[in-house]
């Protein structure tokens, strides 16, 4: 237990390692391309417009607001599900490092979260552009955005700290997580909205991912997250923290054997 806490301390102190690694990950992905990470923003914009225009027709919604909703949804969902999916690979892809250097494993989780965080910031431009185009103005609810983003990012970091060693030990767990996320995309109100159709709201409120999603998405759309969103998200954060500490304490001395 003390070892696990020491690992978190070391990750905090050695922030430069994961900061540099994340930066290089992004550079490597977009090296020698003029727009760099903004390629992602363009891809995101195309996806948002496609889905937004199509579904506004299907679901009979006003185009401008609905496209904005889809943009915020996909952006935030991409952040959350991306971090959880990539969490599975954080240690597997770092095998050479773990083979020769005694680096605490939470460092690699931090690298992945930082990488996704930077990409998310690039994608925010799509939202800003859309808001300007639709003519919706920033509201005071936007103040909740950085807090929500912080809570969600930290939660995903702890999930990654736990999933990394588990996916290293059980190599088929990655497939389970990825499939679960695909199902989650449909049962979470990403494209549709809570309270739509005949679906009971309890079904939505029981979904942890919905609360994390709302914590960032609602402020972007000019709404405050509900008290239930906050309480549920903090409970999830606490559970993730517990999951991380327990997994780390149980795995930190065995990592080498699982490589």
């Amino acid at each position: 237990m003390t070892g696990a806490l020491a690992d978190f301390g070391a990750t905090f102190r050695q922030w430069r390692i994961w900061y540099i690694m994340a930066q290089q990950d992004i550079q490597l992905r977009y090296r020698r391309s003029l727009l760099g990470p903004f390629w992602l923003s363009i891809a995101m914009a195309v996806q948002v417009l496609g889905i937004g225009l199509l579904y506004s027709e299907i679901l009979n919604q006003p185009v401008g607001q609905f496209v904005l909703y889809i943009a915020a949804s996909l952006l935030v969902w991409g952040l959350i599900s991306g971090m959880i999916a990539e969490a599975c690979n954080t240690l597997v892809e770092s095998t050479p490092h773990l083979h020769a250097l005694p680096i605490p494993t939470p460092v690699f989780a931090a690298r992945m979260v930082q990488r996704n965080f930077i990409i998310f910031l690039h994608n925010l431009i799509v939202i800003a552009a859309l808001m300007a185009y639709v003519g919706s103005r920033p509201t005071p609810a936007l103040m909740a955005f950085p807090i929500g983003l912080f809570v969600v990012t930290v939660t995903c970091y702890f999930i990654a700290v736990g999933l990394g060693p588990l996916c290293l030990r059980f190599r088929d767990l990655t497939q389970v997580v990825v499939s679960a996320l695909q199902v989650a995309f449909f049962v979470t109100p990403v494209i549709w909205q809570r309270g739509a159709g005949r679906l009971s709201a309890i079904f939505v409120d029981a979904n942890p991912l919905y609360h994390l999603l709302q914590l960032i998405r609602a402020p972007l759309l000019g709404q405050w997250p509900t008290p239930l969103n906050w309480i549920a998200s903090l409970a999830i954060l606490f559970a993730a923290m517990l999951f991380a500490v327990i997994t780390l304490a149980a795995s930190r001395r065995k990592i080498f054997l699982w490589l």
Binding site: R31, L101, R169, L173, F256
Partner: protein, 267 residues
Amino acid sequence: MAPRITFDHVDLTYPVYGMAGRSLKLALMRQVVGSRVDLGVENVEINALSDISFEIKEGDRLGLIGRNGSGKSTSLRLIARLMFPTRGSVDIEGRVLPLLERGLGINPELTGAENIELPLRLLGATSEEIQRARVDVPEFTELGAFMHMPFRTYSDGMRARLLFGLCTAIEGDIIALDEWLSAGDIEFMERARLRLQGLLARTGIVVLASHSPELIRAICNKVAWMERGRLVAFGDASEVLAAYTNAATHGPQAELSAEPAEAADQG
């Protein structure tokens, strides 16, 4: 505090997982179905180290000698805190510089100069040490303008020089060293030899794993001779090395350990 390494009755046993052993599905099925059903799960245990005890203090240069699978690398990894004993304890006082692998943290797309910080940070360098290395590494490697070219454009010799320069750019109380550092294309370079000697001389404890009695004789004052995870002999370098070379050439030990647990060295 003076650097010190203490191995106290260290045992290290670990399972080797095949494809099936790494499957969550099969692990769960075993829980449900029980062991009555053979799911084809190999359960091979490796006895990497058994009952290893020794102590080394400041000023000691310990050579680990033995064939593949004898437990040399495993001992180095225990010192580097990459592995942990199953029973017994490993006590280490002082900052360990683990030089077990080269080239970690190098990004081929970046220039030599840009490739200084991350590799050194991974080895545990502080900001001051990075600052010093920024001056020291270009000077040693004599890469000149190439320091500002991408690493991927380097020749093999230039790469070796940069990697060697990086590994020897920071200091520790304890160096855990696999033999590669003293071998390879840079061996002929007198300056590299002097740089390594200087680094080792400033280091409290050096632990070197090697197959080569000559290399160990040149550097070490103490030797641990290992076979199949056991300590055959530990003590004064010349005595143990004499016994080792004697046994290796015509002793019964050579026969005894004809089929060592290969996998123990590969981890």
